[in-house]
């Protein structure tokens, strides 16, 4: 960075006004007996984006906090940070190089879709069982590991589709059996504090699975082959392929944006599965029953739905989604028994950002976290440090969310069941 003074000066100016804005805005809304649920967030963002110019009218007039008023200052704050960065470090790759930026953004969205998909499993489990599954990363790891074992070790040369299906069904079974064996006493009133039990017992499951896999598979990294190669395509013509160009392992759009095969395949499959999941949740009886249980457990039971069975289905389905994400990404990364820790953490960040229990929130949160990570790795001047701090970008997002809007983007209140109790 050439003139870090400008950047850090602007950042500290923004932080000071954001802190002032978040505290005083809440006070001023409270004083007039208005809804304060968004006041902290809007105050902080307004302070960061416009400083006293934006804050004083906000404190004086205390307007109703519409969506526009929530979104605009947030966009302003992000733009201001980007502008300060661009002025402070004009020769940085992500300021001067437009195609690099486009490539980072596209790849951020692509990987964000996969993150969001994985977090979807976690949020599905939470919205129905009221338990945050700490074994989510282990399901992810098991999914990838099983694909490697099925397609490389046990049945070499078998179609990767069978590998993915096999790993998903095994993860589904593991999830279902675990739920039957260890989570059922939670709903029967046999456990005093079900939330804490849920946290501990899934943590124990994570510990067990991780070392079980390590004992069986060893601690050496393994890698599966790419599932399939792209056909060679050049559009519009073979000589001047400015629109689309594919090689076996890569896809290039507009001559600038390069997407690697495994990630592209994973993102496309994630979107397809997501669509079928949405169809399942909204158009089939079982899916509707699942959503009914997540809204109101007792009312659903009165309507003839067995909530216990829905619990089992939700936990198994959530584990299967994580395993699917893992089995799609095993072709992109090398795989270790510890590989699930960081994706699990990222899923926690995403579900809190999107709002615990909100399905669209998980998806948008995933894309936001994907973009933040892409910006972080692309823009921090020292690339080696930028790569080692990848988990930290998510934590910054998590801290900001907890400070400003603990309910997340699409947070909602839960009507009944175990949700209301903690």
């Amino acid at each position: 960075m050439e003139t870090p003074g400008i950047f850090w000066g602007v950042i500290s100016w923004m932080i000071v006004w954001a802190v002032l804005g978040s505290i005083i805005t809440r006070r001023s809304y409270l004083k007039r007996d208005l809804d304060t649920s968004n006041a902290t967030f809007v105050g902080a963002m307004m302070g960061a984006a416009a400083g006293p110019v934006g804050l004083v009218p906000l404190w004086m007039r205390t307007p109703e906090l519409t969506k526009l008023l929530i979104v605009l200052p947030a966009i302003g704050a992000v733009t201001l940070i980007a502008a300060a960065f661009a002025f402070a470090d004009p020769s940085n790759n992500c300021v001067s190089n437009g195609s690099f930026v486009a490539s980072q953004i596209t790849n951020g969205i692509i990987i964000g879709i996969i993150y969001g998909f994985m977090a979807l499993g976690l949020t599905l489990i939470f919205s129905i069982l009221g338990v945050v599954s700490f074994a989510h990363g282990e399901f992810y790891m098991v999914g990838g590991m099983l694909v490697y074992y099925i397609t490389v070790v046990w049945f070499p040369g078998v179609s990767p589709l069978i590998g993915v299906l096999g790993s998903c069904s095994i993860a589904f079974l593991v999830g279902a059996v675990f739920e039957r064996m260890f989570l059922t006493p939670m709903y029967k009133g046999k456990i005093d504090r079900p939330v804490e039990y849920g946290i501990l017992v899934t943590f124990g499951l994570a510990f067990t699975i991780q070392y079980f896999v390590q004992a069986l598979a060893g601690a050496n990294p393994v890698k599966a082959r790419r599932f399939f190669d792209f056909p060679r395509l050049r559009l519009p013509s073979a000589d001047d392929a400015w629109l689309l160009k594919t090689s076996r392992g890569n896809l290039t759009l507009f001559d600038t944006i390069s997407i690697s095969n495994p990630r592209f395949v994973a993102a496309v499959v994630c979107i397809l599965v997501l669509l079928s999941l949405l169809y399942f949740l909204h158009r089939t009886w079982t899916g509707k029953a699942l959503r009914a249980v997540s809204l109101d457990r007792e009312a659903a039971a009165i309507a003839g739905i067995n909530p216990d069975r829905m619990n089992m289905l939700a936990f198994a389905l959530g584990g299967m989604i994580a395993a699917l994400a893992g089995s799609l990404l095993v072709q992109a990364f090398s795989w270790l028994p510890q590989v699930g820790n960081i994706p699990a953490m990222r899923s926690f960040v995403i579900v809190v950002l999107g709002g615990l229990g909100s399905l669209p929130g998980a998806f948008f949160g995933g894309i936001i976290v994907g973009l933040v990570e892409a910006a972080g790795t692309g823009c921090i001047p020292n690339p080696q440090k930028a790569a080692s701090y990848i988990p930290a970008y998510g934590m910054v997002v998590l801290t900001l969310t907890l400070l400003l809007r603990p309910t997340g983007l699409f947070g909602r209140r839960f009507a009944s069941g175990t949700h209301g109790k903690f």
């Binding site: 945050v132 700490f134 064996m181 260890f182 006493p185 709903y187 029967k188 009133g189 456990i191 005093d192 504090r193 939330v195 804490e196 039990y197 946290i199 501990l200 017992v201 943590f203 124990g204 499951l205 994570a206 510990f207 067990t208 699975i209 070392y211 079980f212 390590q214 004992a215 457990r297 007792e298 039971a301 009165i302 067995n306 909530p307 216990d308 510890q338 820790n341 960081i342 953490m345 926690f348 960040v349 809190v352 615990l356 080696q384 440090k385 080692s388 701090y389 990848i390 988990p391 930290a392 998510g394 934590m395 998590l398 801290t399 907890l402 400070l403 603990p406 069941g417 175990t418 903690f422």
Partner: protein
């Protein structure tokens, strides 16, 4: 009479632990002593974690992170700060009367030798004319403890006003970030290579006319045991006081406790800060005992072990958690040997952890109070039958609705 049994047993146990180093004299003396010291270390972590999780109902998976904060604070403090009788003119330094506080400049593991920092240069120039004094170890430990408390306070204020799951989520991430930071800042922390610390009693110590060298096991044994007993005493005092009552009340029903005038967030933050300080002090003492700290021996595996120890011992009783930790540490060490079944080598270093994971889940599922708490309760409850001890109301409406 029977009620007193656990107290006498506890006293006997303490007496046994106090006499053990002088009585025992087998070949593996150093090894057994080492396991005891590590077991005490885990006992401090497990008992403070059970105070947080079992008494207050707040689940933190960052306990090992706070341990690491304590250890790294004292490591960096002892590594970078020196007192010198003469200005070096090369380092950053501050004058206090006749002494200079010297701050050594950070050099990473990337330089060709590790001894080219400014202090070594100054010492080479002086040629033995002056000697610098390293910082006292106890000050590093105190600073580490305070630093753990500061981080605990910040995180507690951020997260503890929210529901229980957020603390677990956030602390898990926090521990991971700490590990990533320590690994990435190679210049300062030396990254994965780890940073060396002076021994707990670097110059040896003389007690009752007997001189111990810095590698003797007896002084760190008693230091760690004293720290464990101190932590248990503080925890007991807290649990018996009004504080413990408030904390248990907010575990059972936070809204009811708040309605009765308990400032719930304040007490949650308070108990979080106290337990993180205990973890940090244990980490600092243990790092000085081992002599080196690396980011790898911090986090997730160790955290899982602490959770397993506390739960198997009994998460709602910190004495049981401490005893459980000591026993489990010994069992883990005994299970280290790999063996062969029908030509297949079973690598027990990994399988023992799998076994512990399964025991952890089964303990949670079937005896929530752990395996040691019931033994203690069998005596303290005396002849009173189980059913006269207060039962918590069962949420009957829900299980009815489920059917």
């Amino acid at each position: 009479m029977r009620r007193q049994v656990p107290y006498y047993a506890g006293l006997a146990l303490i007496a046994f632990l106090a006499l053990f180093p002088f009585v025992y004299s087998a070949n593996d003396y150093d090894y057994i002593m080492h396991i005891f010291i590590i077991a005490f270390f885990y006992a401090i972590l497990a008992s403070s974690w059970s105070m947080l999780a079992g008494y207050a109902g707040q689940f933190s998976f960052g306990h090992m992170g706070f341990m690491g904060i304590g250890a790294y604070t004292t490591a960096l403090f002892c590594h970078y700060f020196y007192l010198s009788p003469q200005a070096t003119n090369v380092c950053t330094e501050f004058q206090f009367g006749d002494t200079w506080l010297v701050i050594v400049n950070p050099i990473g593991v990337t330089s060709t030798t590790l001894t080219q920092d400014c202090l070594s240069q100054a010492l080479a120039v002086w040629g033995g004319a002056y000697e610098v004094t390293p910082m006292p170890v106890w000050l590093g430990i105190v600073l580490g403890t305070i630093m753990g408390g500061v981080f605990g306070l910040l995180i507690g204020l951020l997260v503890l006003r929210l529901r229980a799951a957020y603390l677990a989520l956030f602390t898990l991430g926090f521990a991971e970030i700490l590990r990533a930071t320590i690994s990435a800042e190679i210049n300062i922390t030396r990254g994965q290579a780890g940073i060396e610390l002076p021994k707990l009693f670097q110059d040896g110590i003389t007690v009752f006319g007997r001189t111990f060298s810095s590698t003797d096991k007896i002084p760190p044994y008693f230091a760690m045991l004293a720290l464990l007993l101190l932590c248990l005493a503080i925890l007991t005092w807290l649990a018996k006081s009004k504080f413990g009552l408030f904390v248990r009340a907010l575990r059972e029903d936070q809204d009811a406790a708040a309605a009765l005038g308990v400032n719930t967030t304040r007490y949650k933050v308070l108990v979080f800060v106290i337990t993180t300080m205990m973890a940090a002090s244990a980490g600092a003492v243990q790092a000085h005992y081992i002599g080196i700290i690396t980011p790898n021996n911090l986090f997730l595996l160790q955290m899982s072990l602490v959770v397993a120890m506390a739960v198997i011992g009994g998460v709602e009783n910190f004495v049981a958690a401490a005893i459980g930790a000591i026993i489990i540490e010994f069992v883990l060490e005994m299970l280290r040997n790999s063996f062969d079944i029908g030509g297949i080598t079973v690598d027990m270093t990994i399988w023992r952890l799998v076994i512990f994971g399964i025991i952890l889940m089964l303990t949670l599922r079937f005896t929530r109070n752990g395996l040691i708490t019931p033994v203690i309760e069998y005596f303290t409850r005396g002849h009173v039958g189980g059913e006269t001890v207060a039962h918590r109301a069962q949420p009957a409406d829900e299980s009815e609705a489920a059917k």
